[in-house]
Amino acid sequence: MKIFQALAKIDRKIIFAILAVVIIVPLIKPLGIISRASNRAEAVFNAVDAIPPGKSLMISIDFDPGSQAELYPMLNAILRHAFAKDVKVILLGLWLTGMGLGEEALSITSQEYNKVYGEDYVFLGWRSGVLPVILGMGEDIKRTFPTDYYGQSLNDLPMMNDIRNYRDIPFFITLSAGDPGMNTWIAYAQSRYGLKMGAGTTAVSAADAYPFLQTGQLTGLLGGMKGASEYEFLVREKGYSQALTPASQAMDSQSLAHLLILILIVLGNIGFFFIRKTTAFKGEK
């Protein structure tokens, strides 16, 4: 009884400290738990892999630094995959505050593969309004984005010569942290223009993607940091990149932290039931 009462009084700062330790220790001393790719992640990977060299993959940054840990590793892994396969990349975003992340990711990965701006990749940047942007690109990308992120006319970028609208995009990936994001692209680009698409989402919205996966509106799904680690695993396994894999590195910490949360829930419930039982018993007397 005393144990449960003592447990119920654990200061939250002690819980904070335990969680920090559980996360930090495996980052320094990895446990080496093997992580494999799910079918959902493989579907996204295969769709990117199937894009013929010279054709374009479009990626939308629909997140900000608040979800960086989950979606930014996905962005890097997908960019590395595309560049290694000589697939051209069109990057844009519906979240204004995600633009800096796109710029950073491109500057790192394009250098790794010696890719040339305007020939191998283009950064369209951000435009206001969400719906007119998605719908506008279905008609004409150059009219929706007369200039790229840097203010250069798209007519001056050789890569954009053969690209008019979604019909010229074999595959599209939204990296989505909410709204606007996955749901918006499905409703306005996938349904209306038949854009073939996959999604990388924060874990929070991963469960919401399942109805779209079952109907085929989404080709595949990368769910949260685990999804990012799966993509990193596939890119590394196929020899497309030897770069650092932050999401994979995090998986031991992720596993242990989940175990800790589960233990906390179980302990909390045991204490709750025990105290409730004894209180009820005393009440009867």
Partner: protein
């Protein structure tokens, strides 16, 4: 262990600890970082909006190429500021009416197609169900779950025996759905914390790669 030499990394570390200090209690360091963030966010939004939209979409076409048709959205846009002038504050309704009408008109067919028609098809007609008995059973359970969930959300009529039972089944599916979302939410929050620790251990302290 090699400590970061870049001053900017140290700035990032300082701000990270300012925010983490809230775990102890609200304090001036947290407030400082929070207000700095809001300010930088506003300035950043202004800059990107100018470079990515105002300049290429309005200033260049209107003032350099003389595309006079762009005066119309400019006037509508300026009407937003009428809310600061009481006499003509009603003008703010003009751009709102246009944008709302546009959004609503675009949403009706899109939502109907993506979230209703395709989802009804997915609920009843999937080629997978012929792949094996288990696929058929899961599809059937799923269909029952969808119907019961929809019944649970139907409040216009008093629930009688059969609908009450269906709604109760609906709750079971909903709770499992919420549980799945909750499990994934835990995953998300932990991931974000790992991301910050990676920054501290890798970029600042140089303990990990």
């Amino acid at each position: 262990m090699t400590l970061a030499s870049s001053i900017w990394i140290w700035v990032g570390v300082f701000l990270t600890f300012c925010i983490f200090s809230f775990l102890y209690k609200d304090n001036p360091f947290y407030k400082f970082a929070e207000h700095l963030f809001v300010g930088v966010s506003v300035g950043y939004s202004i800059s990107i909006s100018y470079h990515n939209v105002l300049h290429p979409d309005l200033i260049v076409p209107l003032f350099k190429h003389g595309e006079l048709l762009n005066i119309i959205p400019l006037i509508f846009g300026l009407c937003y500021f009428a809310r600061f002038i009481p006499k003509v504050s009603w003008l703010v309704r003009l751009p709102m009416g246009l944008v709302l009408g546009f959004g609503a008109g675009a949403a009706i067919p899109a939502v109907l197609q993506a979230n209703i028609i395709r989802q009804v098809q997915g609920a009843v007609l999937t080629p997978e169900i012929f792949q094996g008995w288990n696929f058929f059973v899961w599809a059937l359970i799923s269909l029952i779950g969808v119907i019961c969930t929809v019944i649970y959300f139907y409040f216009s009529k008093e629930r009688k025996k059969s609908t009450k039972f269906a709604a109760e089944i609906g709750i079971i599916f909903l709770m499992i759905g919420f549980g799945a979302s909750f499990g994934y939410t835990v995953m998300a929050r932990i991931s974000l914390l790992i991301g910050r620790f990676q920054f501290l251990l890798r970029d600042w302290l140089g303990i990990i790669q």
